[in-house]
């Protein structure tokens, strides 16, 4: 731009001048500065310390009777905790991987903690577009496979939370959790 006339005086034979270098350095310095300024602003949109502090919840399972399900909140998301009946466990265990839409973590034993077959704990968010499926209350429609039924677009999940009917592409996700005793879990 405006520098060409002044720069012409110092032009080396190949057309590269000192001013080109100065411009690159100034540009790079400005870019680094802009990045350094942008980062705190962008990072301020990440979860704040008080949000991170709410990263785990304790759940007492004792009051949940067989056949009943409860929904708890973890990180603002619904977590399905269901006390499965013997029939439901049997149904869940008898499914072969070839019958599933999403075989990842498809075996029922991969979806529960060892020795706690009756407790299925899932993130209650449909893997299609994020609605909360019905079925955690016994009065809800549970779909053909007896698990959960999403009212938004009709996806259906079985008693292990695996997707059996689309449009949802994936099984219900499993939250990180551990049994602290037989009747107490810590989610997160």
């Amino acid at each position: 731009m405006a520098d060409s006339s002044a720069a012409a005086h110092h032009a080396a034979p190949d057309g590269v001048t000192k001013r080109d270098l100065l411009q690159l350095i100034a540009g790079a310095g400005a870019a680094i500065g802009a990045g350094a300024i942008a980062w705190p602003l962008i990072d301020s949109m990440n979860p704040s310390k008080d949000v991170l502090a709410l990263s785990s919840v304790d759940v007492d399972l004792a009051p949940v009777v067989e056949g009943q399900g409860i929904t708890i909140v973890w990180q603002g998301k619904p977590i399905f905790v269901r006390h499965r009946t013997a029939t439901e466990i049997k149904e869940a265990q008898d499914v072969k991987l070839s019958q599933l839409i999403d075989p990842t973590l498809g075996l029922d034993k991969e979806r529960v903690k060892p020795g706690h077959d009756q407790w299925i704990i899932l993130i209650g968010i449909c893997t299609h577009l994020g609605c909360v499926p019905l079925g955690n209350k016994p009065s809800d429609p549970r779909g053909e496979w007896g698990g959960w039924f999403c009212p938004c677009h009709g996806s259906q999940y079985d008693t292990s939370g695996r997707v059996r009917h689309g449009p949802a592409p994936l099984n219900l996700a499993l939250p990180p959790y551990a049994f602290e005793s037989d009747t107490k879990i810590k989610v997160g």
Partner: protein
Amino acid sequence: MAGLNKSEFANPVINWIDTRLPIFTMMQKEYGVFPTPKNFNYFWNFGALAMVNLMIMIITGIFLAMNYQPNTQLAFDSVQHIMRDVNYGWLIRYVHQNGASMFFIVTYIHIFRGLYYGSYKTPRELLWMLGVVILILMMATAFMGYVLPWGQMSYWGATVITNLFSAFPIVGPKIVTLLWGGFSVDNPTLNRFFALHYLLPFVLVGVIFLHVAALHITGSNNPLGIDVKTPQDTLPFHPYYTVKDSVGICVYLIVFSALVFFAPNYLGDPNNFIPANPLVTPADIVPEWYFLPFYAILRSVPNKLLGVCMMFGSLLVMFVLPWLDTSRVRSARFRPIYKWFILLWVVAVVVLGVCGAHKPEGIWVILSRVSTLYYFLHFLVIMPVVGKLERPLPLPESISKPVLGGRGGGPMPAGAAAKPMEKA
């Protein structure tokens, strides 16, 4: 008149856009080759600095608004949440808080520049008046922003400032109720102040656009206060003044950073660390430093209505400055008498500021009254009279003459001075 723009840009993408929407041509014309007087001193940095400051305020403000709660029950805590929990929230808030002070420092110097070098005189009257509008909008924005943290000073500042309007006869109390949205400063007040505090900066952007548009019609004033006569008197804005402004921006950012990182609460008031309490007024109530001179004018008059009128008048008188100054010489550099009066006016404003920071008793009352008197005397009497009586020093023939003769500007690149318009 419709018709495609004949773009001269070589880059095909830029050319394609520029043909249909000539923003690149416009930028090149207004900020690339724009002919600018070549004798600017560093006072001419402050317009650009104010622009940068406004951008900083808007950007940090948007991110603060993402975490702030404009509700009397939550506001104070949400500011503490920003300071303690939000990632870099302390930095963003301190930049915004001290940015307000920096904005006023920069703007006040910018205004002083205009006063000293006569930038308000014909043909730049409208440019100046838009500047006064900007100042008033800025003050309103700053005041409402100060209310948002909902500390004691926020609350009582809001109460006192809104009560200024109660001085007007008959309609006064009605106006105050309207401003409050109730019968005291409360949640509706906080809510609307937040809404307006978010709105006004964008109004400012609009008025500043007009301010700059008017500037690019009249062209900039300069330290000699004489008109540009030939292209030899000018330099292309880029790179000469983009670089000079960049130097100023670096210094400005150093001062700004020193304030933010080493003394972030230096200019604040400790009372604002106490949540708002509508039942107890703090013992020492003072506005932020940038309002102190006006606050001192208000207090120097022992009559409520007159005090309020004087305070608003001290700003409004600026609108008619171009017609109060009867001298046709712009720069105070060539006005041997007026030069001392305008500097004395600056002293009066500073004294008023100091008076505003002290309790109105003893010497401070006298000082603030004398300074207030001079403030108005300067504009209403001295300016018109001195302009008539004073015999100005001989003006240089052109901007180039004193620059090349060694007065002020320093050595100039000879090639650039000879052909400022070339290529650019």
